[in-house]
């Protein structure tokens, strides 16, 4: 199956190279695949997603979407990013759902969904609105179209954020701990929506601490620790019979094995 995302030998350090956060990470995601990334705090999961979504520049390594280079290695193994036009095209391939939603507070829910479609994709107002309303229906938020983000619960805001990302028709959608900022009783409604997307074979990469959820929806689980991929594979294998000691230890802390 066609590879949507490919990352090769990604390196990333902070604080003048004193903090080596990503140490030679390689991974790829195929069309329709749901990949979960788990791992202890500080293992570099968010940094990896930020590199994949061009929010943070990699020090070294390659990044490809749909076979097109977003960044290539130069002779010294340092990442060299493609031109502005190329990156703009690549940005339209992916979407990202943040832990803290990051909805635009001055726009209504409907406008949050419509404005990017109109301003970035150049869709007509009618098309953008039709798409927005369809997605709000799918998120069970049809009655909230005219509300402002501050009038919604965290779970509702996160579902709007998911809808906003989907409205741009991404080929792959990243989630960085989509339920971590939510009260426990609100996580369910968001996980349900993501699960529905997984059943529709939306290509997704989900960083999460919800182990049961990761096990249930993923085609593949990646366990990261200390800036490397320690173990990856079928969720039943990684959760049910982890090979590496570090994975076992981590899952034990989460009461998952």
């Amino acid at each position: 199956m066609k590879k949507i995302l490919e990352m090769n030998h990604v390196q990333k350090s902070f604080n003048d190279n004193t903090l080596h956060v990503l140490k030679d990470i390689s991974m790829s995601v195929s069309e329709g695949e749901v990949v979960s990334i788990i791992g202890p705090s500080g293992s570099g999961k968010s940094t990896l997603l930020r590199c994949a979504t061009l929010l943070t520049e990699m020090d070294g390594g390659e990044l490809l979407y749909d076979g097109e280079y977003a960044a290539k290695n130069d002779a010294d193994g340092r990442s060299v990013y493609s031109g502005k036009a190329e990156l703009k095209k690549i940005r339209s391939i992916f979407g990202l759902v943040f832990q803290s939603f990051n909805l635009f507070p001055h726009y209504s829910v409907l406008k949050n969904l419509m404005d990017p479609q109109i301003c970035v994709l150049g869709r007509s107002k009618e098309d953008a609105q039709a798409k927005a309303i369809e997605l709000l229906g799918k998120m069970n938020l049809s009655d909230k179209a005219e509300a402002y983000p501050c009038q919604l619960s965290g779970g509702q805001q996160q579902r709007v954020a998911i809808a906003r990302a989907l409205a741009m028709d991404p080929q792959i959608l990243f989630f960085d701990e989509p339920t971590s900022a939510l009260d426990p009783e609100l996580t369910g409604e968001v996980l349900k929506v993501i699960k529905k997307l997984a059943e529709e074979h939306m290509t997704m990469v989900i960083v999460t601490h919800e182990m049961a959820f990761a096990r249930a929806v993923s085609d593949r689980v990646i366990f990261m620790d200390g800036g490397v991929i320690v173990e990856q594979g079928d969720p039943e294998d990684v959760f049910g019979a982890p090979k590496m000691e570090r994975t076992k230890q981590f899952l034990k802390n989460y009461g998952q094995s």
Binding site: T53, L54, L55, K88, R91, S92, F94, G95, L96, F98, S100, N102, L103, F104, P105, H106, D115, P116, C119, V120, L121, Y148, P149, C150, R164, A165, M168
Partner: protein, 215 residues
């Protein structure tokens, strides 16, 4: 001089006061945004120079700046002093207030969470679209109270124009007070500034309310 004549004469000067007020806002509000962006420039030289200029403008009396702009060209280059004093007065006011507005804008822009930029970036907004569609509207809402403060101060500061003999309400009031040895013109001036500011408060309050449709 009876009270009516006095009021009438002073009323003539209110045009001058209003001219300073509105022209200053007209130029200083946008100029302040330009200064704020220069101040936040990633080019060190630009941001340092801008910061130095802002601190001079805020650290010296507006009255001195008025005198410098009005008479400086004469002393430095022997250029004639402007016939219409409104020009140097508005230049001095606009530059001075732009410095204050710039700092307000800057703190407003810096108070917007980085997540707003990141969300816009991921969605594919250009830098310009992000600034005008996402950041600026939120900044305007946040800075309204500080801007109102500056505008109220501006109303009172217009009276400083008397130092360069620009004819506005306070200049005339002072002249009448001297020639008639009367305190009344000052009372009239006080009432005028008070009423002017009451109107400013009302208008700005309305504007703030209009932006209250979210949080």
């Amino acid at each position: 001089m009876d009270l009516i004549t006095m009021l009438k004469t002073m009323l003539d000067g209110m045009g001058g006061t209003c001219a300073i007020f509105f022209l200053t806002l007209l130029f200083a509000l946008p100029l302040g945004m330009v200064v704020a962006l220069l101040r936040m420039s990633k080019v060190k030289v630009i941001s340092s120079i801008t910061r130095a200029i802002i601190s001079v403008l805020r650290g010296t009396p507006l009255m001195l700046q008025l005198i410098a702009v009005t008479y400086g060209p004469y002393y430095l280059f022997e250029l004639p002093v402007a016939k219409n004093k409104l020009v140097p007065v508005v230049i001095a006011f606009a530059i001075n207030y732009a410095a204050y507005f710039a700092e307000i804008y800057r703190s407003g822009i810096e108070s917007i969470p980085v997540g707003q930029y990141e969300a816009a970036d991921i969605l594919g907004y250009s830098k310009i679209q992000t600034f005008f569609r996402i950041i600026l509207p939120q900044v305007l809402k946040r800075i309204m109270p500080s801007v109102t403060n500056e505008v109220v101060t501006l109303v009172k500061d217009t009276s400083l124009a008397f130092t360069v003999s620009y004819v506005e309400m306070f200049t005339i009031g002072k002249q009448i007070a001297n020639s008639q040895s009367s305190f009344v013109p000052f009372v009239v001036a006080g009432v005028f500034y008070f009423v002017f500011n009451a109107i400013v408060d009302y208008v700005m309050g309305k504007a703030e309310k209009a932006m209250n449709y979210y949080q």
